[in-house]
Subunit: 308 residues, 2 copies
Amino acid sequence: MREERVGIGAFALDGGAVLPAVEQQVTIYGAGDRVALVSHALTGSSRIREWWPGMFGAERLFDLDRWSVIGINVLGGCYGSTPVFSGRVSVRDMVRAQARALEQLGITRLDLVTGGSLGGMQALQWALDFPERVERAAIVGAHDHHSPMGIALNALQREAIAIDPKRGLRLARKIAMLTYKSEELFNERHGRRRDRHGVDRFDIEGYLEHQAEIFERRMDAHTYALLTHAMDGFDVRDAPAPQGPELLFIGISSDWLFRPQDVRAAAERFRAKGARSAYAELESEHGHDAFLAEPETLARIIARTTSA
Amino acid sequence: MREERVGIGAFALDGGAVLPAVEQQVTIYGAGDRVALVSHALTGSSRIREWWPGMFGAERLFDLDRWSVIGINVLGGCYGSTPVFSGRVSVRDMVRAQARALEQLGITRLDLVTGGSLGGMQALQWALDFPERVERAAIVGAHDHHSPMGIALNALQREAIAIDPKRGLRLARKIAMLTYKSEELFNERHGRRRDRHGVDRFDIEGYLEHQAEIFERRMDAHTYALLTHAMDGFDVRDAPAPQGPELLFIGISSDWLFRPQDVRAAAERFRAKGARSAYAELESEHGHDAFLAEPETLARIIARTTSA
């Protein structure tokens, strides 16, 4: 693994603001011939192997003898890239900044771009904006626009942070955790059991409290607001079909934030426009988080549907 | 319509606290021979006709020439009943207090007890605790326990209120509104449209803001916490089958807070135990709120499945 902070100079955001000197935090694993870019989700980082370890290994998707796997902390992220304090960042901005960072590193061809959730939005945007550089985009637990339910959930999380940056960030994480999991998983794991540590609350409440505690130590409220706005703004339903890249949309059966039927519909919309576009479904009770919780199954789906 | 504040004396809560002198706010519509008790949900009141007008009328469920329809503000509610500031209130407490108020009024037989959501929980509890007084219980958008997802959503709403009683109550209402509606309804009504008044936000955000504004004028934060705790505590899965009352569980097809499959499962559990228990489904895109939004269809379902 090597890490670099790659300067991409001044950067004009879609929204109009110009950032004077932007650096992108880049992590590269392996030195294989095949090159993958893995875009991270709302709270991830360039250190893919820390949050997606199950994708790495000789029998997994990323055999590092064969692959070079690149992670980049998104524009506006709080894990090494230059913070953004003026204007809003779009998914297009993120992808354009990443493209410039990769150019600096001499990388102009990607065998695979993938990611889940906000990472999936970026993977799709990569295929749309840089079709000549992308062989294949695997878009997991995301589709071609953010839904009004998704927008509302993000807005309420930002509202919690606006009420109280610290306690509100904890509450935002708890709200988000409900959207990342499924009812079935909660029924199985927590049910109506009382707190396992004897506190006067239900077990599910203790679980959320624990998640909030971990979270507030690793996330920045400003970044959280910036990146959720980026998600809300995402809508590429009217984009023309990219010529060249193969699109693979992967829905998660129990995902209620990015519902599988909506992921399938996006795959069909792009196919109808003439893109190479396929749909596959990850059967899981883990909800939206299945892309993190079931990496082996997901890796098999991505590997299996390689038509290249 | 007549309204009465009915004293039921000292009242010992399930939790142990004793309330010295409790009054229940009661509203009675019509003077027919058939008697219905309508239990209200989290934010309702004894004035059923204000929040469930579609159930009333000659061609509807409650023809006031034939029916007397009674509403009672729940114990701990903020619409006329004595406020509760010590201890927590359970659904059993609510029902027991209502039974005592009805005794004061000379009413010991109910042809129908019905309600949606928390009101549905009360309707079921009535059939379990006072089977000799209840002919039929129509339990709408509720079942025999509150799920961990439901518990978590209530806990996060209380947490918002704990952070800031005023702004937090608004946020709580917005969270709740998401659980009361469906993704389909939001897609249809709001989609990704920008705010209709030109504010820099999405239409769905403006809708939620409007709902929060109406809400903070009519709801009390303490009551909100008290009644959501009562919902969380509800679990009658182990209750023996009531002898006598007919149970009608009505699930809503697009309800994700009280999912139709869970409502159906509750109906089946009671049938398996030997109760007269039926299940019917209200087909609607309105989500949990369909019990308020589609009263005509709901009234037909309740009337149709009268086996008595």
